[in-house]
């Protein structure tokens, strides 16, 4: 037989091939409190008033923390800082739904959730100062910060798998951005979680941007939530500026995860600040857009709810703000007092037992520093890139 070219024309009649496309899936964005402050009474979580007040407090703390940290950075007293401004409801609503036994896999913007989980503010500041010691995330079930975007998703899957094997009643909770969903690590980690029935919740704060890239260019999918279908796991899309909605959604997700159904939650929100302190967002987005989202401010919306339900009067906003400002100042003072370890810090904690060559490198370096104390000076004054 000849290797004849495939030259026949495509079927000219309609033969009934009907591709599925994303339009075929209906994805609701779950809400409790609408942007105008009105709300769905059936959906208000059955928690006590104190908890409802705490939610406000934590959101305010997140806001104050972000403001102060950004200022501190401008004065050169922190390294690069990533703010959660605009995402307070997503950060706090999700963090509030977790148990202390759960492990959080942070990615950078979720200060409030980490503090709530037991991290000290001093340590968080020290972390952003690039102090090795603070990376311990001491005293809290918090994994090392995932600076390489998406790389932590398989870690969370593995951790959840461990919890499952150990028969524990806890989950692995990964924070991630919309950008992270495009990484291979996200895909493999999510898919494996689906196969393992791992008790994990992957919480995507879709803040509409990955640095300058708008979500429409991050993926052609209309939502992050629908990506759950690729893994046969549950997907939830929630208004990320509605703290009660986020709280409910993550509570539900956590419950599902404990039953062996990993969940991908998409919280639709907006990064109102710059990507980090080294970014200039005016290069890639309009002021109108930012203004538009400012109208959906999560704190204001929640305040409207609290007012509507007669709880606002119990909240002394000024007092909370002052308290938090003070907490921040105290944390800065404590951070300033932190005494860095010597150069051994560089050589430690990579191995349980330092191998001979590395030990030798340390010793040689020590000797050199003694011989050439001008090295300290050089190191301190060298141009910083």
């Amino acid at each position: 037989m000849d290797n004849s070219p495939q030259s026949i024309s495509p079927p000219s009649v309609d033969v009934g091939v009907d591709p599925i496309s994303q339009g075929d899936v209906e994805i609701e964005t779950y809400q409790v409190v609408r942007p105008d402050g009105s709300f769905d009474a059936d959906r208000v979580p059955d928690v006590d008033d104190e908890a409802l007040r705490d939610l406000y407090r934590w959101m305010l703390l997140q806001r104050v923390y972000d403001n102060r940290a950004t200022k501190l950075q401008r004065r050169g007293r922190l390294g690069t800082v990533a703010s959660g401004r605009g995402q307070e409801a997503a950060i706090i609503g999700s963090g509030f739904a977790l148990s202390q036994d759960d492990w959080i896999f942070p990615y950078g913007r979720e200060a409030g959730a980490l503090l709530m989980h037991g991290l000290s503010m001093r340590d968080l500041l020290l972390y952003w100062r690039g102090i090795e010691d603070a990376s311990k995330m001491e005293g809290a079930n918090i994994f090392g910060m995932a600076i390489s975007i998406g790389s932590h998703i398989p870690l969370a899957t593995g951790k959840a798998w461990g919890m499952q094997l150990a028969g524990e009643e806890s989950i692995a909770f990964a924070n991630l951005g919309d950008g992270a969903t495009s990484t291979g690590a996200f895909h493999e980690g999510m898919n494996f979680a689906g196969v393992l029935d791992a008790p994990a919740v992957y919480f995507c704060q879709n803040n509409q941007y990955a640095i300058s890239l708008p979500f429409e260019k991050q993926t052609n999918a209309d939502t992050v939530a629908q990506k759950a279908l690729a893994y046969g796991v549950d997907g939830i899309r929630v208004d990320g500026n509605d703290v009660l909605a986020v709280y409910n959604a993550v509570s539900k997700a956590r419950e599902r995860a404990l039953e062996g159904n990993p969940v991908l939650v998409e919280a639709v929100t907006y990064r109102r600040g710059a990507h980090t302190t080294s970014d200039d967002p005016t290069r890639y987005r309009s002021e109108e857009e930012v203004d538009e989202w400012e109208k959906r401010d999560p704190l204001e919306r929640y305040q409207a709810f609290l007012e509507e339900t007669g709880r606002w009067d119990d909240i002394d906003e000024e007092a909370i703000r002052e308290e938090v400002e003070e907490e921040f100042s105290a944390a800065v003072d404590a951070a300033d007092e932190f005494e860095e370890r010597g150069i051994e810090e560089i050589f430690s904690y990579l191995h349980e037992e330092t191998p001979p060559e590395l030990q030798r490198q340390l010793e040689e370096f020590r000797e050199l520093l003694e011989e050439r104390p001008d090295m300290y000076e050089y190191i301190e004054t060298r141009p910083k890139g």
């Binding site: 010691d133 990376s135 001491e138 998703i153 899957t157 980690g189 990579l350 191995h351 349980e352």
Partner: protein
């Protein structure tokens, strides 16, 4: 027990899974089918489906989830089916496995093993023949072990599983079944980070590891008749490197040939040469010769045997070095 390397690996896994309930074996085709090389045969039957699992075709997830699992008190023993398929997971090795202890200042650790068959010579397809040990050896925080004998395969694998930090365990698949030896029954360990002197000698030091050890020993034997008295070192661990054994030997012999299968440029032979230069330069009576793969990808199966340094190539290098 008389065993091949692959049997020794299998035996080690049986032993240590029996010794330590926290061990979990997973990877592609390791459970139901017992692994494409049968390294994990019988494990699922003995230890059950919770501890012996087949994974999706996801190298990133295999290595990444091993890290997560290890931080939760387990001892993951992951298999990457061929080392040519480890590069997709390279980031998880560099970014997470090697650094979790470092990143968390010892709060979390990753005692895990990634086993993978490496090297050419089994007439397989593209990407089934790589030797990238020098790349992994350059990643601080990652141990890289490469046994060459059944005894070492078993003892070093058990050590790797018990190691408090991540170990990449590269198995010389070309000699998985070519050589047998009597190995001890039961549990024993061979240390990581210690080279083995396979033969003492005065004329020169020949250093190799993994599958190339056998080619190397053959070459040395061929030259013994011709009066060359070689000291032969089996490196066994690329990282951490046992400098002492190397340096002591070269100080004695004054000459050295390094044999490896990986491409020459940037191969681990360079680090060995540099190390000897650092610590024994003035003892050298001849340049250190590197007998290595060429600076090309491993050829497809019809020509791969030309790529792997055969004993005659090694012999010539030894002769040149001794005669220098």
């Amino acid at each position: 027990m008389n065993a091949t390397i692959i049997q020794a690996v299998n035996d080690a896994l049986h032993e240590e899974m029996g010794n330590d309930e926290q061990t979990v074996v997973f990877g592609q085709d390791v459970a139901e089918s017992g692994g494409v090389f049968r390294a994990t045969e019988g494990l699922k039957e003995e230890f059950g489906g919770e501890r012996v699992l087949d994974t999706p075709l996801s190298e990133i997830a295999i290595v990444g989830s091993a890290v997560g699992l290890a931080t939760h008190g387990f001892r993951p023993i992951a298999e990457i089916q061929f080392s040519g398929f480890l590069p997709p997971a390279f980031d998880q090795l560099v970014t997470n496995a090697s650094r979790i202890r470092w990143r968390t200042r010892g709060e979390l650790t990753a005692p895990m093993v990634v086993r993978t068959p490496y090297g050419a010579g089994v007439r397989a397809l593209e990407h089934h023949s790589e030797s990238l040990e020098s790349i992994y050896g350059h990643v601080p925080g990652l141990k890289v072990a490469i046994p060459s004998t059944p005894h070492d395969a078993k003892g070093m694998l058990i050590s790797a599983i018990r190691d408090p930090d991540p170990v990449l365990f590269m198995e010389p698949k070309h000699v998985y079944r070519s050589y047998r030896e009597d190995i001890d029954e039961g549990t024993y360990t061979e240390p990581l980070g210690e080279a083995a002197v396979r033969q003492e000698g005065e004329d020169l030091t020949v250093i190799s590891w993994g599958a190339m050890m056998h080619q190397t020993l053959e070459a040395v034997e061929n030259l013994a008749d011709k009066g060359v008295d070689a000291e032969v070192i089996d490196l066994r661990t690329i990282s951490p490197l046992d400098k002492e054994t190397i340096v002591e030997s070269v100080k004695k012999t004054g000459r050295c040939v390094v044999v490896h299968e990986a491409a020459k440029t940037g191969g681990f032979g360079a680090e060995i040469a540099a190390t000897i230069n650092d610590e024994a330069l003035m003892y050298l009576e001849a340049p250190i010769e590197r007998v290595a793969g060429f600076d090309v990808p491993v050829p497809l199966l019809s020509m791969e045997d030309y790529y792997i340094p055969p004993p005659p190539r090694i012999e010539e290098a030894i002769k040149d070095t001794v005669a220098y």
